[in-house]
């Protein structure tokens, strides 16, 4: 495919760019800056609001907003560099902007990295002619516990409201009033509560929207920036950690155009203070006669060695999906090679079958048809994927969602059955999937064999041969596949069943908070837990070793695309890192494991990744090529039938409890006070029909009962929810059973 090129002249420099290129980008290609405030191509079509980009175009008498133009063959453009008129125009714009902008740069968080400061320095007037009182507002006001709004600094570029309206589509942040009285606001000044709010801070070209967590915490000239990868969910958004005096001060997005396009969810952006949580474990703890007590590393490793030696092959390892590939591999070396303990509880099922249908996440935006199946809304499992889906819809794609709140309502657990039906040659939507050039399948929910079921569907639909068609599985944990692969690669022996668990080795907080792991701990003679926080294992571990967080780790992680990405240590952990002590323990069992992630990686890469080097992963990791389709092992249990739609039930039956793990949940989120408002309300969602039958309206207090357990929650009638279920966030569902009775309290 050849791209038609056009030649334009910018400030006497000729440059060839593809037809349709924006003028700002064309000038950039010529090495010339056209300054902008409101222009941000990721927010949709340009709006031409700020007028910073005024340029002179030969043949047009009036100055033009460069951001709104695309280049035409032979266009001759003059910016402020060579046109007095354009320079006057830009100075005028800056003078107008500064009429109301306060000169509080010394106490503004944006100072030093502020486009308005920079552009005023380069293009602005040296003195003000404005002798009237500037517009004043109460400042700063909380837009939410995470974001402070300073309306005096706001230059009304509308980037933030466009993000809310056109990208996240949350409809929360808007402009109100008109003209000089225009201002940014939420309805009734309620907190801006949505999964992606923090992006508006980065979009703001002035200090009008600032992070309450970063407020007065640093200046760009006394901080360091460490590029790494977010490990809060399986997307693996590329991020930059801002470090000052050895502490993470903020997380910024770092645009990987195929993964995140520079967007980041609030979980990834704002959970970093959990590293300094009050209940962080920094020294090993050992259970003695008076309970758990701090001990030295020396003693702790001796104790660990002793427990491991006693248990030997009777050790079972529970791994977290948030571990790095290197930690999982190193543990595999220690426990499998050193002890012959091959039994593991892996974080979740995984499958290689999807490698035949691999696509970058950005391909979703190009799709014409997307089918999502599963019990969970995409945003709760892999938030950025939700933004890609929204973009696809804006571009005209059809998005079919088979699930409890989907466009095709389906009871919980019905995803596998939906896949089976879609594979049927007679299915209407299935037929269109077969015919489509650009179609994407997404499994969003529990089950599915780690992607095996959706891979089978993709295979049945003939996606292998179509480069625009692909499939994704949204895992529950950030690196489940990397962990599983590394564990498997650590030794050649097969997994062995352990009848009597002599020692349970629990690695990481995800595993430590898994009820199944805890149940296993009750059957084990002894338990070693590697965890960051006191609360998680204090009640049941015999030995606790402190864990590190993802911002403290070197290593690699494989995201839901199957893309291996590199984590870089942004700050030193308050304790030795895992590889250090694993290496030491392994040595005691005669196994050599490097304490350095890069060296462990080399070993892993030799076995798993064809010696792909860390350098090749780079700052923006590439997506591996597709592999031939290998049929996955068939489902071990037959596809469960979705709950039958309630048919004319004469009386109020029970509802199926649909538990979901909200995006804003988990040990890290729980430890950041400013994030608490984002957590799900204590509520149960009911379908309109189920609510009506029970005489329940939104806001009512209701009781959920099952086998002697009961929970009181507020009801919310959800018009999109399928009948027959009561949807409750995991953390509010407590011990409720699968079937619940719902009555007004």
């Amino acid at each position: 495919m050849s791209v038609e090129l056009v030649t334009v002249t910018v400030d006497d420099r000729r440059v060839q760019v593809p037809k349709g290129t924006g003028l700002v980008e064309a000038a950039q290609a010529a090495g010339i800056e056209i300054p902008v405030f409101c222009y941000e191509p990721r927010l949709g079509p340009p709006i031409g609001a700020c007028r910073m980009c005024l340029v002179e175009i030969e043949g047009i008498p009036k100055l033009q907003a460069g951001c709104t133009l695309t280049v035409q063959e032979g266009m001759v453009v003059r910016t402020a560099q060579t046109s007095a008129k354009a320079a006057e125009g830009q100075e005028a714009t800056l003078e107008f902007i500064l009429v109301n902008h306060p000169l509080d740069c010394p106490v503004c968080d944006k100072g030093g990295e502020c486009p308005l400061q920079d552009l005023t320095f380069r293009y602005g007037p040296g003195a003000t002619r404005m002798r009237f009182r500037k517009l004043t507002f109460d400042k700063p006001i909380p837009l939410s516990p995470l974001i402070a709004l300073d309306r005096e600094r706001c230059i009304l570029c509308y980037r933030c409201t466009r993000f809310s309206e056109e990208v996240a589509e949350d409809g929360q942040l808007v402009a109100r009033n008109r003209g000089a009285r225009s201002e940014i606001a939420t309805f009734e000044d309620v907190p801006y509560r949505a999964p992606f709010t923090g992006n508006v801070i980065e979009l703001c070209p002035v200090g009008a929207l600032t992070s309450t967590l970063y407020r007065f915490e640093g200046r760009p000239w006394d901080t360091q920036e460490v590029p790494t990868v977010c490990a809060a969910c399986p997307v693996g958004c590329n991020v930059t950690a801002t470090i000052r005096e050895g502490k993470v001060k903020r997380i910024l997005s770092r645009n990987h155009p195929e993964i995140d396009r520079g967007w980041l969810c609030d979980k990834g952006r704002f959970t970093y203070p959990y590293l300094r949580a009050g209940d962080r474990i920094t020294a090993p703890l050992r259970r003695g006669p008076r309970g758990l007590a701090e001990t030295t590393w020396e003693e702790a490793l001796d104790a660990a060695e002793e427990l491991l030696r006693e248990a030997g092959a009777g050790t079972v390892t529970a791994l977290s999906g948030s571990e790095t590939t290197e930690i999982a591999y190193a543990l595999g070396r220690l426990l499998r090679v050193g002890l012959g303990a091959h039994s593991a509880v892996l974080p979740e099922a995984t499958s290689d079958a999807l490698e035949a249908f691999r696509l970058p996440l950005s391909a979703i935006a190009e799709a014409e048809l997307v089918v999502v199946v599963g019990d969970d809304p995409v945003v709760e499992r892999a938030p950025i994927v939700d933004l890609w889906l929204r973009e696809a819809r804006r571009r005209g794609a059809e998005i079919a969602v088979f699930g409890p709140t989907g466009t095709h309502p389906l009871g919980p657990g019905g995803a596998a059955e939906a896949c089976r039906r879609l594979a049927d040659p007679g299915h209407e939507l299935g037929r269109r999937l077969r015919a489509a050039e650009r179609a994407v399948l997404i499994w969003s929910g529990p089950g599915g064999g780690g992607g095996a079921r959706v891979a089978e569907l993709a295979h049945a639909l003939g996606f292998e041969g179509k480069p625009g068609c692909g499939a994704f599985h949204l895992p529950a944990s950030p690196n489940a596949r990397g962990v599983a692969m590394a564990w498997a690669a650590a030794a050649d022996e097969d997994e062995a069943e352990v009848e009597h668990v002599r020692l349970l080795f629990v690695s990481g907080d995800d595993a430590a908070s898994d009820p199944a792991v805890r149940a296993l701990a009750e059957r084990a003679d002894a338990t070693i837990v590697v965890t960051m926080f006191h609360g998680l294992a204090a009640g049941w571990a015999d030995l606790i070793l402190p864990a590190t967080g993802w911002l403290e780790r070197e290593g690699t992680s494989m995201n839901l695309e199957g893309r291996l990405q590199r984590l870089r240590r942004a700050v030193l952990p308050p304790c030795p890192d895992e590889l250090g002590w694993i290496s030491e323990l392994a040595a005691r069992f005669g196994v050599e494991v490097s304490p350095y992630a890069a060296l462990v990686y080399e070993e892993v890469a030799a076995r798993l990744f064809r010696d792909l080097s860390l350098a090749e992963l780079g700052l923006r990791a590439p997506l591996p090529a597709r592999k031939p389709y290998a049929a996955p092992p068939p489902a071990t249990t037959p596809a469960s039938q979705p709950a039958a739609p309630a048919e004319e039930e004469p009386f109020l039956g029970t509802l199926r409890l649909l538990r979901y793990r909200p995006l804003f949940s988990g040990p890290a989120v729980e430890r950041v006070p400013e994030l608490q408002f984002q957590r799900p309300a204590r509520e149960v969602a009911l379908s309109e029909a189920d609510a009506e039958r029970r005489g329940i309206v939104s806001g009512d207090r209701v009781l959920l009962r099952s086998n002697g357990t009961s929970v009181e929650l507020r009801a919310r009638v959800d018009r999109a929810l399928v009948e027959g279920v009561a949807r409750v966030a995991e953390e509010h569902a407590l011990d409720l059973h699968a079937e619940v009775e719902v009555v007004k309290a």
Binding site: P46, I47, G48, A49, C50, R51, M52, L54, K62, L63, A65, T68, L69, E88, G89, A92, T93, E95, F96, I97, V99, N100, R129, M130, R131, F132, R133, L135, I155, L156, Y158, A175, R176, N177, R178, G179, A180, R181, S182
Partner: protein, 445 residues
């Protein structure tokens, strides 16, 4: 010799009730529609093009050329009628709608046939409740009589925003957004309503179409001036003896409109200024009164034809007050999207307030001039320029009055100006939420 009142738009309204289908049919109404529907769509557009109907909304762009720019593909094409008449001084569309609604509907149907559109939206300003009701009744009649065919006409009511008269702001508003202009290009004929090719014309433009089809382009072109054939409804207001709407051929001298048609200056006062095209255009002095009222002539005189709304100002009026009141209007109506207009309109009001109150220094007049200069041509839409034209032209042509304010330290009219004490909406605290930016603060730092 005064031009005869030749009526095309308002033809028959003096003698008959044209608000009913029966009445309109009695004067030959809807015959042009039948004639047009018997023609090929392109032939209708050709006729409109040959007649050179220039847009009566303000910009004067030929309607036929607009239609020729419509992107052709398989999807829907929309016709949007701009009935958001809000230009201070203009009230012509209102009379067209309330006295001859069927003429507008007929124009819509002929144009829709020409551009092969089946969907027409009439965006009528929210304040025009009576006109909306008249139009709604007429539309129901036309629908019942089967005149609409497969065309739907939707009457969409605005809610009070001058900016929605700007065509792209109108489209935004119609789509359920804040009425803020879009950057152009792309122009509405390519990307318009709901992203589709869209023809947008003013009420008085569309309502001329039946006459063009009835008379034929050749006959139509004999009326008015060659560069702008036809008639216009001139809205004459201010200090004249007989204010009102008067339909006359284009090219009629301004003097004739003011003195012969509207009866000259009321109360035997002296003429001081004429604003020829609505408050947004540069002012003309009595010496410029012989300018013919057509697009090109008036532009040659340094102003604009605009919406043919002539505001006549007599010698009792303080020009600083008049400039301030105009500036207050544009500040109130600035949509807030682009920087120069949002900030500049407020700054102009602050400076003019200071000058009017006698607190201005000579440098403030230069600053006022310079702020105007810096706003001009920088805004996203024309409103930024509209806000400047009255201020900069009054300052240029009546500078002695501005200087007198500075020298005397007070208004030279000493409280006797016809605009003395006038309260502008922008000074009220009704609309904005919650505690708003407040009245422009004139106190120095």
């Amino acid at each position: 010799m005064p031009a005869e009142p030749l009526e095309l738009l308002m033809a028959g309204t003096a003698e008959h009730d044209l608000t009913t289908l029966e009445g309109y049919r009695a004067v030959g109404g809807y015959a042009a529609l039948a004639k047009a529907r018997a023609m090929e769509p392109q032939a209708v557009i050709d006729e409109i093009t040959a007649a050179t109907i220039r847009g009566r909304g303000g910009a004067g762009f030929p309607m036929g050329r607009k239609a020729s720019l419509l992107a052709k593909d398989r999807g829907p094409v929309y016709l949007v009628v701009n009935a958001d008449e809000s230009e201070p001084g203009a009230f012509k569309d209102r009379d067209v709608m309330r006295f001859t609604p069927h003429r507008l509907i007929e124009g819509c149907l002929i144009t829709a046939h020409g551009i092969e559109s089946r969907s027409v939206f009439v965006y009528i300003r929210g304040e025009y409740l009576h006109e909306f009701e008249v139009l709604r009744r007429a539309l129901a009649e036309a629908r019942e009589a089967g005149l609409l065919g497969d065309v739907t006409i939707v009457l969409h009511r605005g809610a009070g925003a001058y900016i929605c008269g700007e065509e792209t702001a109108l489209l935004e508003s119609l789509e359920g957004r804040r009425g803020q202009p879009r950057p152009r290009p792309p122009f509405p004929p390519v990307v318009g309503l709901y992203g589709r090719p869209t023809q947008i014309n003013n009420v008085s433009t569309i309502a001329l179409v039946p006459k063009v089809i009835e008379l034929g382009a050749e006959e139509f072109a004999k009326i008015g001036v060659p560069s702008a054939p036809g008639t216009a409804v001139f809205s004459i207001s201010g200090n004249v003896a007989r204010p009102g709407n008067y339909e006359r051929p284009l090219g009629i001298p301004l003097r004739e409109l003011v003195y012969d048609v509207a009866g000259g200056i009321a109360g035997g006062r002296r003429l001081k200024a004429v604003i020829p095209g609505g408050s947004s255009v540069p002012v003309l002095t009595p010496e410029e009164l012989d300018t013919p009222m057509d697009y090109d002539s008036i532009q040659a005189a340094g102003s604009f034809f605009g919406s043919a709304a002539i505001i006549v100002v007599d010698d009792r009026c303080c020009m600083v007050q008049l400039a301030l009141r105009a500036a207050q209007f544009y500040m109130h109506e600035s949509c807030g999207k682009c920087t120069p207009c949002r900030v500049g309109t407020r700054w102009l009001v602050q400076l003019l307030t200071k000058i009017e109150e006698g607190r201005g220094a000579p440098a403030d007049l230069d600053l006022l001039d310079d702020v105007c200069e810096r706003m001009l041509g920088k805004s996203l839409c024309a409103l930024g320029d509209f806000a400047v034209y009255p201020v900069s032209s009054y300052l240029r042509k009546y500078r002695d009055e501005f200087e007198a304010h500075v020298e005397l330290g007070r208004c030279p009219f000493g409280g006797e100006s016809s605009l003395e004490g006038i309260v502008a909406p922008v000074e009220q605290h009704v609309h904005a939420l919650p505690a708003d930016a407040g009245v422009p603060e004139a106190a120095p730092l």
